[in-house]
Amino acid sequence: MNKNCFLYRAFDLYYDGFRHMTVGKTLWIIILVKLFVIFIILKLFFFPNFLKQHASGDEAGFVASELTERANP
């Protein structure tokens, strides 16, 4: 591949950059662990979409009944 072409240079920027990281390696490990905890553990097990679970496809109807019923406790 022509080393002056844009794609090669863009690839080389990232490839070489990642290879020569020092503190960056630690930071990337932390970022990956954090993303795993946030998206896999927290999102899947602790933060479900409440409306999808309870509205049975009629979100507008569900929210309407929530909003009207809560005015008359």
Binding site: Y14, F18, L51, A60, A64
Partner: protein, 527 residues
């Protein structure tokens, strides 16, 4: 009290609020430092670009390294807020969906990709791209973060001042009628400038503290002094700018959120020629009237006027809380009747008449959920003291950066006068008062003060958010949706569990970040 009247777990509301506050406060530890350091590293690299002096390249790289640590630790901490919208605040989330969707989508697409592209060039591209392109990438990384903040602040500003939308009772959503009205609302613009400029203070305070630590240790003197020059200029301009934008914000709040202003001032009975309280019992005469109306005798309503109704300066009458609550209930009843009529297939005349009632009273929709007008008053103590912490520390930063600037720039005459004044007050030894070595350019006590300024800068910044968010209570969306209606009907135990999980996760991550940052600071620049 309001919470106990609902058919939902009373603790759910308070724990959901606490969880959101915890997440937002944690997220906001990283954002302002990112915005602030971006300016300082940008200036350092600009000087390198102009002078081609390797010292400035190393200086820029050092601040970029600390920027990188902070940037990496802040990644995705804001995403958790969006999870909470979907789980804990589902009614709210549906109700605002279209308004929030657009700014957050623009934020995600433009700002995120801009940041992630240029940050790679900034860190990996020193030997790969031209100096000009690298400099542009550094500034664009900061600009990307700033644009990102813009869209988030637009979304927040809409909750405080909902404009450019219309409520659709069929979809139960507020639908955007004008993108530009939402994106360029005066509240959003003022919030953006005040928030971003005050974030520069945190960047400047952080750099000043690191440099002062080096001066105390007697190392990296040249980098410290040159960086102090940048930080003191940025810090002073930002502190003055935050004051000016804060004043403008105060005027807008007086117009659109007068209850927040009354809570910030603990002003129960308003009137003309109102003074601005320093603390209870000591006030600046006419200060509040001037702040709110730009006139010395302007009328500022207090909590009692806002609850009981009053005549505004333009002659219009602000209804009492009772009237708003009554009209809110009419709007909610009309909404229920409209939807029932539609579901039952009744004539268009009936649905249209209910729709007309809903529209006529919609501006007070949220008041229909309020049972006791005292629930409309935000927590006074928190607002009062958070406002004073923010403003008081803001004034302190002006003095602090002013002194640092005069001393590090060695401005002829001014610097000597300042040194002699400090000496007269015993804050500088006499031998230090005129000619000093570079290492002693700042007295040791001032270096320690600079280090102590780091937590103070964060307290000021978080206090600003406390005022913004506690001040609009009980509303998630001003006048439209109170917290106890916005919240999902969850078990409080599940919210408590995730609150504790977050507390552990955030504390651990913060400890890791501070540890890495301190290691990098101790290691210092690779000069």
């Amino acid at each position: 009290m309001q919470n106990l009247l609902l058919n939902i777990d009373a603790g759910t509301i308070d724990w959901s609020r606490a969880q959101f506050a915890l997440t937002a406060i944690y997220h906001w530890l990283f954002v302002p430092l990112t915005l602030g350091l971006a300016v300082i590293m940008g200036i350092a690299e600009t000087i390198y670009y102009r002078k081609k002096d390797d010292f400035w390249k190393k200086t820029a790289q050092f601040w970029q390294k600390l920027f990188g640590v902070n940037f990496a630790m802040g990644v995705a901490t804001g995403i958790i807020l969006e999870f909470e919208f979907g789980t804990n605040w589902s009614n709210y989330s549906w109700f605002v969906g279209d308004i929030f969707g657009a700014p957050l989508a623009v934020e995600g697409i433009v700002a995120f990709f801009m940041e992630s592209t240029f940050v790679a060039v900034m860190f990996f591209g020193w030997k790969k791209v031209s100096a000009g392109f690298h400099l542009a990438s550094t500034w664009l990384t900061g600009l990307g973060a700033t644009i990102s903040a813009w869209w988030i602040l637009v979304a927040n500003a809409w909750m405080q001042y909902p404009v450019g939308c219309e409520f659709n009772p069929d979809t139960m959503r507020n639908e955007m009628t004008s993108f530009f009205e939402v994106a360029l609302s005066p509240f959003a613009i003022e919030k953006f400038f005040h928030t971003v400029i005050s974030s520069w203070i945190i960047g400047a305070v952080f750099v000043t503290a690191v440099c002062c630590w080096y001066l105390l240790k007697g190392r990296n003197t040249k980098l410290s002094i040159e960086s102090l020059k940048i930080a003191s200029v940025v810090g002073l301009i930002a502190a003055l700018g935050a004051g000016a934008t804060g004043h403008k914000s105060g005027q807008t709040i007086a117009q659109v959120q007068p209850m927040k202003l009354a809570a910030m001032e603990a002003l129960y009975n308003g009137g003309n020629e109102q003074g601005l309280k320093i603390v209870e019992g000591i006030e600046v005469p006419y200060g509040l009237s001037l702040m709110a109306t730009n006139t010395l005798d302007g009328f500022v309503p207090g909590i009692n006027e806002l609850l009981n109704g009053y005549t505004k300066a333009d002659g219009t009458i602000e209804p009492s809380a009772e009237e708003k609550m009554m009209r809110g209930r009419i709007a909610i009843d009309a909404l229920a009747a409209y939807r029932k009529a539609k579901a039952d297939g009744l004539s268009e005349d009936i649905t249209n008449s209910q729709l007309a009632i809903l529209r006529e009273n919609y501006q007070y929709f949220g008041y229909g959920y309020v049972k006791d007008k005292s629930d409309l008053v935000p927590p006074i103590l928190i607002n009062f003291w958070a406002f004073r912490a923010m403003v008081g520390l803001g004034c302190l930063f002006i003095v602090f950066f002013g002194i640092v600037l005069i001393l590090v720039f060695r401005i002829p005459l001014v610097s000597i006068i300042t040194r002699r004044l400090l000496s007269a007050f015993g804050l500088l030894s006499e031998t230090e008062s005129d000619e000093v070595s570079p290492q002693a350019i700042l007295p040791a006590w001032l270096c320690w003060v600079a280090i102590a300024m780091v937590p103070l800068a964060y307290i000021a910044s978080e206090s600003g958010w406390l005022v913004a968010e506690f001040g609009r209570q009980p509303w998630t969306i001003q006048d439209m949706l109170p917290t106890w209606v916005a919240v999902s009907n969850l078990q409080s135990s599940s919210v408590i569990l995730t609150f504790i999980l977050f507390l552990i996760l955030f504390t651990t991550m913060l400890a890791v970040e501070i540890n890495i940052l301190l290691k990098q600071i101790k290691k210092g620049p690779e000069l």
